[in-house]
Symmetry: C2
Subunit: 527 residues, 2 copies
Amino acid sequence: MIAYSNLDSSSAYSKLLSLAPKGKPFDFSVILDAARVRQAQIPIGAGLTYSWAAKAVDERILNELQALADEQELIGKYTQLLDGEFMNTGESRRVLHQLLRGRCGKAVVHEGRDLGAFYEHELERLGVFADKVHSGALRGTGGDAFTTVVQIGIGGSDLGPRALYLALENWADANGKRKMAGQFISNVDPDDAAQVMARIDPARTLFVLVSKSGVTQETLANELFVKARLLKAGLDPTKHMVAVTSETSPLARNPAYLDSFYIDDFIGGRYSSTSAVGGVILSLAFGKETFSEILRGAHEADLGALQKDIRKNAALLDALIGIWERNFLGYPTTAVLPYSQSLNRFPAHLQQLDMESNGKRVNRAGKTVAYATGPVVFGESGTNGQHSFYQLLHQGSDIVPLQFVGFQDSLRGEDVEVDGSSSQTKLKANLVAQIIAFAKGKKDANGNKEFPGGRPSSLIFGKSLTPAALGALLAHFENKVMFQGFAWNLNSFDQEGVQLGKLLTKQVLSGTSGDSAIEAYAALLKA
Amino acid sequence: MIAYSNLDSSSAYSKLLSLAPKGKPFDFSVILDAARVRQAQIPIGAGLTYSWAAKAVDERILNELQALADEQELIGKYTQLLDGEFMNTGESRRVLHQLLRGRCGKAVVHEGRDLGAFYEHELERLGVFADKVHSGALRGTGGDAFTTVVQIGIGGSDLGPRALYLALENWADANGKRKMAGQFISNVDPDDAAQVMARIDPARTLFVLVSKSGVTQETLANELFVKARLLKAGLDPTKHMVAVTSETSPLARNPAYLDSFYIDDFIGGRYSSTSAVGGVILSLAFGKETFSEILRGAHEADLGALQKDIRKNAALLDALIGIWERNFLGYPTTAVLPYSQSLNRFPAHLQQLDMESNGKRVNRAGKTVAYATGPVVFGESGTNGQHSFYQLLHQGSDIVPLQFVGFQDSLRGEDVEVDGSSSQTKLKANLVAQIIAFAKGKKDANGNKEFPGGRPSSLIFGKSLTPAALGALLAHFENKVMFQGFAWNLNSFDQEGVQLGKLLTKQVLSGTSGDSAIEAYAALLKA
């Protein structure tokens, strides 16, 4: 029997509190040497490795974090989730995104249906569909081949798929895997859809409408925007649009769409990139084999996350170090810093993944907890960030824990040698330099030129950003966030915090709020 | 004589400390009504207005914030800056970005040169240059007209100009002001330049190389990358490239460039969007008149920021409320949430502007201060963010102060009516709903559905995002950050925090660090 209890009820919690230094940053000057860098590594899967050498932990702290993992039964809870228990308590739902990439636990049967087989079936169907588009068997109204795919979706139907699409463009172009161009429409701001429509040729474009519920306000408005434009161009919208939705939504089995692909209530929006939500556009843009490689990498990471030993489980250790930083060192934010331009929107996806999952002040039972939970997550690609907000990271009044990501090789293989080194080598040299600068700092008699150091970072690295590596990276963070939610005793799989805004929006639109402040604000904006 | 002293040495500081509620969020339920919304407004300039109705301040707090502004002589310091005093103390430099858009103070003469006249002269020159490109008087090597402009720059030479370029695309396309397409190369990751080059036709492209010092590692590497590609395409790089730099840089008056436009040491990178750094690409893409409109709006905001009364000075009040939130309420982060897809990269610019200016733990004299300074700044456009990290903003364990931006009208004027309202109306209704949801929250017996409220926000609003409004928006935040730096007694105009990374990068590249940890990290990445 697995017990769910608050972080601060564990005995490891009090021990960790007693280990936490008071106001003194960790001293990396001696501890961070070559031996530690070589030893402090854990494989993630698909050739990626997690390095925690520059994190502010020593053996005593790690031992207590292991005790916390054991006491909070984090692996037991992960196993429950994999086996299809109703982990999304408020909504009484299973949580099955790992099953999209392969089975790690028992077969999950829901109302007589094997859900693993269902997900696999949808994956197969979308692959067949993508092949038909690529072969020209499926064409637009006027007989034109489809050359562009536009995803219409918001939140999890946008951020994850968009981050993955952008991450793979360079790899696909360099490796002959590019099949179609991709675009995304997300915002209810009508300029978003209008701008994308101005960029594409609708006769050659396939639209992927993504909404699990089938009633997302922004997505339906953008669907009608696009349909009106297709009609105006003399095109038949039913020949230019597919849906990704749940079987119970109004979009399902609807003749308005060329085809429909299904997910179910057990795939949360922010965890849906490896379902048809990401699969349709990624398979159309880069081929179904590319999408399968993402799933393979993610599955490897999911399996690796089953290890009970925190020194062998990258996602688990990453989660626990995050809790050490949040609850014992008191750091309120985390920055994600990929040294790869291809990952430039990956931080925006992680921002949703993390902040929407664990940005909660009540536990699974709806009781307010007395400790800090999910941090603010932000980030930009390096080296760009170095010329922007790194000033604060190095010398600001607060400490921001860092997660670096870097690769040995660039993707396009085009480079230039300047001053004896290639750009890719410069990129990596900058990354290494930053880790050390943050950790060790630099003394200086001039306070303005002094770097306090003690600013912890981890590094995820690999040979190059292949689809499999990208899948492993995605799953690593999903699993990290899941373990943190377990440790904090949260339900990481609902998002009740979005409901009040939806309700008040309806009231603004219908003029029924009964709140004079709402009316006054609406008057300012002529809303 | 203006005195520079630490925030916590002021008597207003102790009074504000005594006014700060201990652990209890501000109660908006009664105070936030129509009368407060109508009254709590300050014009910014160019038709923009700052609303602070949903900020956690009352008359007593405002009075003390006014006292703080007076005691710290914030307007006196601004006037010193406008008059050309050496405000960038560490580097002994003036700070003159406001002068780029018009004079607000005395004429500034440096080594016999009137700098206002110098900036105006460069503005004129770049306008003439843009006209020549647009008229076809200047053409590429093979006689092709230039249709695309690519900016090569990083940090302030990228984030601000890019944010403004993206902000104006929809306005320009809808108003017949589009002259050329724009692209940006910033990262030293060679995939960045390679991807942009794969998208454009070099024969029809003009490159704008931007580096004040002329020695920025990333920018020079990308310049050589691009030049090699131009040569390979049989084009003469000197006919396809202009430089924006300082007169003392190796790029100045260099026959390698078609022309060069100048800034000087008194224009900081993150404050340079209204100089030639932003002016060349924006004038080429949208016409010199459009760039002049940005300057006009910025100048209006600069003049408005001279008011001593905090109830009449939007930038000053915004700055002081930020200090109230940071130093007295203890909030470590701030989110910027523009309800306009055109502003989707504006938060990335503000992140640099704010965090690089005030992310400092030593004062102007190099002494460590005992109070928190610049917050972590992050954000995404709404409504997208609502489906992402707003969960944490509504129900997370920490409070994040918010800055909303919204407009009455969309830019392209294309819209669709769904369920009785247009998309633009839905966009605005969502914005109003969020302000109220954050401020007032909602009681619920189910903790998971309860919204604590007390989460403060401001709103900047206007009719539409014209070039002048964009200029005023930009200047508003520049001036806000400046006032905060004065109040915290920081030098907001240098960035010593980037130096250590540069030094260590050189050591990694030359293998001379003498640090075994650096060598071990370099081995992991094969750097």
